[in-house]
Symmetry: C2
Subunit: 440 residues, 2 copies
């Protein structure tokens, strides 16, 4: 049976998410991000297109590296202003039945005890349609604003994230037994206290006696996403992630990451197929090639190199305004980096431009050759990019048996891993915390 | 012109909020608190009844004082399990147009920088219908679970809350100027960077350079509620609160608090009428007195003394299981305290039982004699208590000109303080932070 492709909409609760400069495009409605209807309309559109999930990126700091200032990011709305993505979920869940919501949250700034409750609450309210994209954040401005005194190195932030997840797993998987809530009216026992356990976590970064504040939600643990392609990031993915958002735009790079993470997963006793691999993709589709190119040119017209340099500075720490084009960063010249960023050719992700058939061919090729399971679909204009994809590419993928015609029933985890799999599999590291008793 | 009474529904994102034992009542649907539709149906009902707001209490710890254990609270669902109230708001805002949402959040556990963004996000999404009930929390179990190493004394927690609010005011009122966002397409300027200011806050508890992550929302600062009646709590209310949730069930007590807080407010240069006073009230109304008494008896039947003792223990720190009835706590014997709690006579708040006329009389009397402006309406059964009030008491109040017939247009602050008052008045302490410039 042909493998169905999973499609997520890649979004962010701000004006300028990724295609910087395009807020100026006449068809772009991103300025409506503060309006609840922008989001409920988007969720309904995505459900109409049978998308798996809305993937919401997030940052809690400002890009202030480029030109040693935050002004370019602020001027061009490069992920600032930026609102809290968790606040959007319940309204979007109310207007949909199947769409899932993968929301980014950093383990660097706020305590796991409060976060574990937020995610359990959202898993309840969405009836099991919530996922968490775990990030370890790297923005100095966020460190300062959250009063982080001791700035941890890149890899140690993943060590902290390991323990952060351990605390969450103990709360989600082990603190309340499945049949703790019994609602015994006769004996006035809503919850059997003997089935609610302290977790007594004592670690390097956190002391959390527990118990969890929430009764078990449909998935208990939200579907875990991870998106860091560094060595340490891939190790973290292999240990924790059920879905990985890969970097890279060509088969070789993607395949390397896919194979590497699946291999590492075995070390943790995990079935490598218990991890779905997502690649970012930019799609500009038209009924004809010319129509697609016309759209591309209209986007290129508003494309802002300055905006992308501000984003690049925040993401890498390199202020390219201080370099000459002949300087090198790693193996690439600054001239080449800047040239790449000045063109709309999908600097980080594969760009597929053309007819529905061409786009479907290129997506199918990446899936089959790189061994990935789905895509995070980038937006140029909102909601136009998704409208085009749903009207033109989805039918083509469905014709090839590569995309669902109707939603399957069940939670997000079941839609990814099959009916009945609404909880994490036993080979996941979280499963060891299921039989926590008070004396742990 | 007769003063209109403001009515809030008093709720909590859990099973057992306040009328412990009544989760067993056949008409009570509180077990549906994990279901999004419970909340959207409630919001629609309250808007039908022209309520001002849904007031959501919250705790992030467990009552574990009574019988030196958390078991009674867990067994009887006394505010555990408890989900996060902020996650509910966007769905309820989506199905209503006027109802406001006053949500409780503690200044003790999570950093103001993340909280300021959450509230700005909700003020945007609700189009100016969000309020924040500021609490300084007191539960040891929450202190442990959030890893609070240094437990602050009661009054010092208010000092920290003062600074917490100062940080938030600087972010909400001063960081982004009203016309910072200009959306100048021609010059690719979404936001004028010179109108986005760092706040450079440096205090005893927080260092927050800023700027805020969010563009100005309709109200900028959510409507500020406060609910602590200690000496320090009233001082805090006088300085910050626009709405105060008073303790007390008789005219004398309520009037003392009202007069005291209004007097203190003058010290801060505030017009005392810029503070609305809310008393808690329990209403059991029937078309006839007998019908009301029948309801009361059905509630009394399920009333749980043990549940209330668990709540009392968590709230006061006194484990009454260790006292004999002749012991005294303050000026009241333990026997009297327990006797009060065993009857459904509104242990903390005024109980009004009877016909619509009697209930309206008693509400009008409290408003006129104690100088209060509205009520937080307690629930016995959900949604029955609110349905009865809306069907029987609201028409009676409307007949007397004491209650709106239709909603006024505008934000929550405008509905409280009049059209055009969507931002904090100039006499509020937050106003001083409006002209923050980079060198503050």
């Amino acid at each position: 049976m042909t493998k169905k492709i999973h499609i997520n909409a890649f979004e962010m609760n701000c004006v300028g998410h990724i295609a910087h400069g395009l807020w100026r495009h006449p068809e772009n409605q991103r300025h409506r991000y503060t309006d609840l209807n922008y989001w409920t309309e988007l969720a309904q559109l995505l459900e109409k297109g049978k998308f798996d999930a809305l993937f919401l990126a997030d940052v809690v700091g400002i890009y202030d590296v480029y030109r040693q200032s935050r002004d370019t990011a602020v001027r061009e709305a490069v992920q600032i202003p930026v609102n809290d993505p968790l606040m959007l979920i319940s309204a979007m869940a109310y207007v949909t039945k199947h769409l899932a919501f993968a929301v980014t949250f950093s383990t660097t700034y706020e305590h796991p005890y409060g976060h574990a409750r937020r995610m359990s609450t959202l898993d309840h309210l969405t009836k099991g349609r919530i996922a968490w994209n775990v990030v370890t954040s790297h923005l100095p401005s966020a460190d300062k604003n959250f009063g982080i005194k001791k700035i941890l190195e890149h890899d140690e932030r993943y060590d902290l994230a390991d323990e952060y997840l351990e605390v969450c797993y103990k709360l989600w998987e082990g603190s309340w037994e499945d049949n703790a809530v019994i609602r015994d009216i006769e004996n006035n026992i809503y919850t059997d206290p003997s089935k609610v356990h302290e977790i007594n976590h004592s670690g390097k970064y956190f002391e959390v006696p527990g118990p969890h504040l929430c009764e078990p939600s449909p998935q208990r643990t939200p579907v875990i996403y991870q998106a860091g392609m560094s060595e340490r990031g891939r190790e973290f993915a292999a240990k924790h992630a059920e879905c990985v958002f890969l970097g890279g735009k060509d088969v070789e790079t993607l395949k390397f990451f896919v194979d590497d993470i699946r291999k590492r997963a075995k070390k943790y006793g995990r079935n490598p197929d218990h991890i779905k691999m997502f690649a970012g993709i930019c799609v500009i589709v038209g009924k004809t090639h010319d129509e697609a190119m016309e759209k591309l040119n209209s986007f290129q017209k508003y494309w802002s190199l300055e905006g992308h340099l501000a984003h690049y500075g925040g993401g890498t720490g390199y202020d390219l305004s201080k370099y000459s084009s002949n300087d090198y960063i790693g193996s690439i010249s600054v001239g080449e980096i800047i040239n790449n960023m000045s063109k709309l050719d999908g600097k980080w992700f594969k760009l597929s431009v053309g007819t529905p058939k061409k786009v479907a061919d290129e997506m199918q090729y990446l899936v089959e050759e790189a061994g990935i399971d789905g895509f995070n679909l980038v937006q140029y204009v909102s909601p136009g990019t998704f409208v085009d994809f749903i009207e033109l590419v989805v039918p083509e993928l469905q014709k090839r048996g590569l995309y669902r015609v109707d939603y399957e029933e069940g939670t997000y985890r079941e839609k990814l891993f099959g009916k009945g799999n609404y909880r994490l599999p036993d080979d996941h590291i979280a499963a060891r915390y299921r039989n926590i008793s008070s004396n742990v």
